[in-house]
């Protein structure tokens, strides 16, 4: 493994937001191809960040700064990925459901998804079932991801799935759900295709659904 890939890995793990883009730039200047940098530098780092979070060694602040470092690095890398015609893993339409304005969990999931190689279409917070349905109709994503922090807004996940069924779109997408009060049992009850308890496992789940 090239030393510069390790330094990208390290700078993301440490959450070095300023340093990561410079490391990525160095790797490009050394002539490494964009996909190698993505996979062996960044995705590897975010996978490790996810492990550390699952194991309780990283918490929300550590994960956030790592994700921001990754994001800044990705900005440098993106044009090169496009140029090299690296296909994305798939497209994810994501949003926090109607009535709920919490977005930190959703934003972490987005960064983990991008780090894993997905294109992400972020609808933001307080997203109605209609808005999810319209976006699925227009963009034909592989996955719809819904987030809720409040037990009071969880029922909107079910309402969104029902709206996808009514619109005849349910069979065309996989639906995943997450957020503090959401459980695997709830996901199953409302007819979702998957549930993840945290952002790193959400990215792993999404990858498994498109592979």
């Amino acid at each position: 493994m090239k030393a510069v890939l390790d330094s990208i890995y390290e700078s993301i793990l440490r959450g070095d937001i300023g340093g990561t883009p410079a490391r990525v730039q160095e790797a490009l200047e050394e002539g490494l191809d964009a996909n190698t940098i993505l996979q062996q530098g960044m995705v590897r780092a975010m996978t490790q960040v996810g492990h550390l979070f699952e194991q309780g060694e990283y918490f929300v602040p550590e994960m956030l700064i790592s994700a921001h470092a990754m994001k800044r690095g990705l900005q440098i890398l993106k044009p090169h990925l496009v140029e090299a015609q690296i296909a994305s893993l798939g497209t994810v339409v994501i949003g926090t459901v109607q009535g709920d304005l919490h977005d930190i969990g959703k934003n972490l999931v987005i960064m983990m998804l991008e780090g894993a190689g997905f294109d992400v279409h972020d609808l933001g917070t307080d997203v109605s079932a209609t808005e999810f349905v319209e976006t699925v109709r227009e963009t034909s994503p592989h996955i719809v991801a819904m987030s809720a922090l409040l037990t009071t807004t969880m029922p909107k996940m079910k309402a969104t799935i029902e709206a996808l069924i009514d619109a005849g779109l349910r069979e065309r997408v996989r639906v995943i759900v997450g957020g503090a009060p959401v459980t695997a049992r709830f996901a199953e009850e409302i007819g979702a295709d998957g549930f993840a308890p945290d952002a790193s496992r959400a990215a792993a789940l999404a990858s498994s659904l498109v592979s």
Binding site: F59, P61, G99, D100, D126
Partner: protein, 376 residues
């Protein structure tokens, strides 16, 4: 033995002694009924909705009612004193948005009210230092409050509680003022900004509790505080960051509370998986821990009782999923909590969060089971 008053029952439990039954609390910090659930319960009981305006203690939240008739019906052992906000300081409405006295913007969507953004978002350290913190004396008023507390204490015979006057704790409030993502990152990247914000919140909160407890301190047996430090699987921030930024503020606030209400126990609400910092909370002066949410990682009731039962009084515990299942599941959940937490006193039964989707029959059954099965 003559029949115990509600307050005597509570005090025995607080002193880690078994009374005639486990004391029960309801309609406190994080144990209210969400408005819809409240209306359903009224309908179920055959009570009119006509006069419920007088039980609304606030607006703009998902749970706004403190209906004392329910407390009597279920023989709840606690009554609450609220610190009233002056009319002039109430939330200002602008379309579907509300702005509170911190300058925090809340947005109404459907029946829900959610945080939208805070006044410290995007500011540098000078901007944060220049923020004008709210002046509690202009926001809250205490006129007649002492007499009200004394009268309620005498007339109810119940344990009196100083209701959490600020709702949000240090981490919560800092996240609301600064934006959660940014504040979480400040803790690592801009510690001076994080410290400035926590210090500001501490000054305001100390002043609020000073106003409140100067009036009611001698009459209350419990003072509510709260913060949200836990997620479902772990703490939101590391124990190290908690100890560096949050704990010193908790120590300072709790010390002030004890000075003003020396006879009262300090109640602390934090959702989620907070087990790694329970010893810190005890050191910081917390006497009563709520809601000991059994579904969160590491919060198994029997383990908490074994490890911290001598130092802490537990409050809450009856978990949400069971309340929303069958009546039998609700009763079984009440029995589980009593079995694990009640032996030797030191337990106040209540819900692990606001009552949300529980059918009204289950709410009635929960308190019925608590009164009968909770007998020592």
């Amino acid at each position: 033995m003559s029949k115990l008053s509600n307050r005597e029952r509570v005090l025995l439990a607080f002193n880690h002694k078994e009374a005639d039954r486990v004391p029960i609390d309801f309609l406190g910090n994080a144990s209210l009924l969400v408005d819809e659930a409240y209306f359903h319960l009224l309908d179920h009981l055959g009570w009119s909705r006509g006069e419920i305006g007088k039980y609304r203690f606030r607006r703009g939240s998902t749970a706004n009612y403190y209906d004392t008739r329910l407390l009597e019906l279920f023989d709840i052992d606690f009554r609450r004193i609220f610190l009233p906000v002056r009319e002039s300081a109430k939330m200002k409405r602008n379309g579907d948005r509300f702005v509170d006295y911190w300058g925090i913007v809340w947005k109404k969507s459907d029946i829900y009210i959610n945080y939208e953004r805070g006044p410290l978002e995007g500011l540098d350290i000078d901007g944060v230092a220049g923020y004008e913190w709210p002046d509690p004396t202009k926001i809250w008023q205490t006129e007649g409050l002492g007499k009200q507390a004394r009268d309620l204490s005498l007339s109810s015979g119940c344990a009196l509680v100083a209701r959490n006057p600020v709702t949000y704790g240090f981490l919560d409030r800092a996240c609301n003022l600064r934006g959660m993502e940014q504040f979480m990152m400040d803790l690592l990247l801009n510690p001076e900004i994080a410290r400035l914000i926590i210090e500001g919140v501490l000054k305001v909160n100390c002043k609020v509790y000073e106003l409140f407890l100067t009036a009611v301190g001698p009459y209350v047996q419990m003072v509510e505080t709260g913060d949200d430090l836990g997620g479902q699987n772990n703490l939101l921030i590391s124990p190290k960051l908690y100890r560096e930024f949050i704990k010193p503020a908790e120590i300072a606030l709790n010390r002030r509370i004890k000075e003003l209400a020396p006879e009262a126990r300090i109640f602390m609400h934090s959702d989620g998986a907070i087990r790694p910092i329970i010893p810190d909370l005890i050191e910081a002066g917390v006497d009563i821990l709520n809601p000991i949410q059994p579904s969160a990682a590491g919060m198994e009731s029997a383990d908490l009782k074994r490890d911290f039962g001598e130092q802490l009084i537990f409050h809450g515990g009856v978990d949400q999923p069971a309340q929303e299942g069958s009546e039998a599941e609700t009763r079984a959940e009440v029995r589980r909590r009593i079995d694990a937490l009640a032996p030797g006193g030191g337990y106040v039964l209540s819900t692990s969060n606001h009552i949300l989707g529980a059918p009204p029959e289950n709410v009635v059954a929960m308190f019925d089971e608590a009164r009968t099965y909770g007998a020592y």
